[in-house]
Symmetry: C3
Subunit: 275 residues, 3 copies
């Protein structure tokens, strides 16, 4: 039994969507505990949500992970439940949102395409009353609640080839002959830290780096390799291994993203600083 249900969406804190889904979860799985992974990713941003889901889910005990960032709601995309090797279920649209987390949980062991009528019948909800724009409430939350009660996924849909599950393309990451990297900005946090694709220990310059923002005319920035923010002087750009193992550009008490003028998806080049 998976008594924990985690819940991620792009619904935002204002409006009824998040609470509507949680109300459905509580109605159908009264014994479940709900952990809100977050609902403030950019609207429709599957990539941002996918990363957050993959960061948080391995830290929780095995759970049902409800994830709804679903710009294709009501269209031909499949609704799926994915059983991960660790024992978790991931429930959401098959649009790439789920697989980075599935990988972080040991990979997909099995998957099902959810049939709205069967899910709703199992949940004792009116089978036909499925909206075409809010499957979080009408399909995914009911399915997540049932799975947390150990109702078999096979009662809610047909098996689905794991290899057919949609995956997002990996973020850009390229090693340069100089020992540097070309890498995509994969996350900018509330503090303005700029996380790049890759693992610091494998890919990035060990010492300081010259930093280019691809497509910008500006000359390179210099980043000093440090262990933490407090090692930096005011206004000095730093390069550190962040808490997820990634190369990260930062300032001490200010926003590196603002200084560099970068956003998620931009390409950054780090060259070993030989000066």
């Amino acid at each position: 039994v998976l008594t924990l249900i985690t819940f991620l969406s792009d619904f935002g804190a204002r409006g009824p969507y998040v609470a509507a889904c949680e109300a459905v979860l509580i109605s159908l799985a009264p014994a479940a505990r709900v952990l809100h992974v977050g609902h403030e990713v950019a609207p429709g941003d599957i990539r941002e949500a996918s990363l957050v889901l993959a960061q948080v889910t391995p830290l929780a005990p095995p759970a049902v992970h409800l994830a709804v960032v679903d710009p294709g709601v009501g269209g031909p995309r499949h609704a799926v439940a994915v059983h991960a090797e660790r024992g978790d279920f991931l429930v959401g649209p098959d649009n790439g949102l789920l697989m980075e987390a599935a990988d972080a949980l040991g990979g997909a062991r099995a998957a099902w395409s959810l049939d709205p009528r069967r899910v709703r019948t199992q949940a004792a909800l009116e089978p036909a009353s499925l909206s075409s724009t809010f499957h979080g409430r009408d399909l995914f939350a009911p399915a997540a609640a049932l799975l947390s009660r150990s109702i078999p996924a096979g009662t809610m849909g047909e098996p689905y080839e794991e290899t057919a599950l949609v995956r997002l393309p990996a973020p850009l990451l390229e090693s340069l002959p100089s020992g540097g990297i070309r890498a995509e900005v994969v996350e900018i946090d509330r503090f303005g830290n700029v996380a790049l694709a890759g693992r610091m220990r494998q890919t990035a310059p060990v010492e300081g780096a010259a930093v280019w923002i691809e497509g910008e005319q500006d000359p390179a920035w210099q980043a000093r390799r440090v262990a933490t923010y407090g090692d930096l002087e005011p206004g000095e750009l730093g390069l550190l291994e962040d808490s997820w193992g990634r190369p990260s550009l930062c300032l001490n008490g200010a926003s590196a993203a603002e200084l560099l003028g970068v956003r998620t998806g931009v390409t950054v080049v780090l060259e070993p600083d030989l000066s």
Copy 2:
């Protein structure tokens, strides 16, 4: 026993107000579960909060619903507990906030005017120490906690005529001879969908519509009737039945509210599109 307490306010996520109320709930009703309906409605916006409350409460199991959007706090407005036909209690200021939800829960079966001294005495709190500006913490949360423990409302105040409870005026909705409607914008969500008053199946043009924003000089927009966002071309305005049954104007992956330049409360005219 109602072990679920839902909680809606306009307190915002920053500052101590939300957590102060939840701390009081947990202190006085340790066995209760708390579901946050939301705290980000516009400050003092009773109408916005009323709608969210009415949307979410029927999806939850019977519960005590604590709702605090209370611009008249400390003044002559009554504090009330409303017992709904479904078995729920609604607790909050009698300013119109509660009745749309009461209706959604089968109507008001009974009501009480809450006496702060009696509520606080029942809760073993200092009867006299009631602030004049934070009744969420000092009056409503204690009352909600007591009600969830099945302490009778009659111990906290006097019966109150259900017919005296304040109701918000219904949003503007008018059928036009052409088969179209004049309707108020009742909700704009995070995705920029523009929901209108009324029920799509009863009131709105079945096929596409010409759309006027009342008071604007701009010519009409054309909206195509669709089932969901993905049916629309980029930039094409759509008209669909939203997940609450309302006529809704939308774009695919962009904000219809921004395109149309509308806000909640604005009047929109939909005329059947005979072109």
Copy 3:
């Protein structure tokens, strides 16, 4: 046993940080309940967070209070657990964040400096894998979870002199010969209410006040002493005792902070209004 864990940070609702910590709490203390005090204080604003923590914690039952606003993460600042006289534990960086709450809970009875390796060993986590930038997840949440399970603080670190714990300077508050006060703005809430340092009953003018913003050329404002917002005319500035006992400048349904052009930390002078 302290089955409640409260959690305050500056991590924000977007991104993985809050949920990562909560996932750790749930993993290590499955029986604990988590109350989110808030995560939207300004990034790195220890003073704002300290006040919120001190406002909320006394309203909750005795608990473990996890608080992470930690601009010095990975540097020489200590990580501490503080045992308050009421029975609560406060867990976080020793940078001033915790002590206002400790005082509100009866004062510090004992304290420990947390040793990351010992905390992680106790929690059955890899002792060496401590990030240098996310001690919320890697150190503080594990320690809070263990304390809620009644694992002694002494197993996670060495005793720490209570007198050595870092305290924030008290906000500016000065009585004037006129009977007025010079006081710092200590909080501006979502409604634009401007709370000043001090206790209304002890320090502030009893009747109306002339209000100066120190450093501004503008002439004084007149504030009328009222009990609550509804006593004010539209646009009229009011002075009231707020729900935490402080002098507060306010408007009815509008933002006094905007009218006055003030921010937290600004000095305001209230002179008795003898006109």
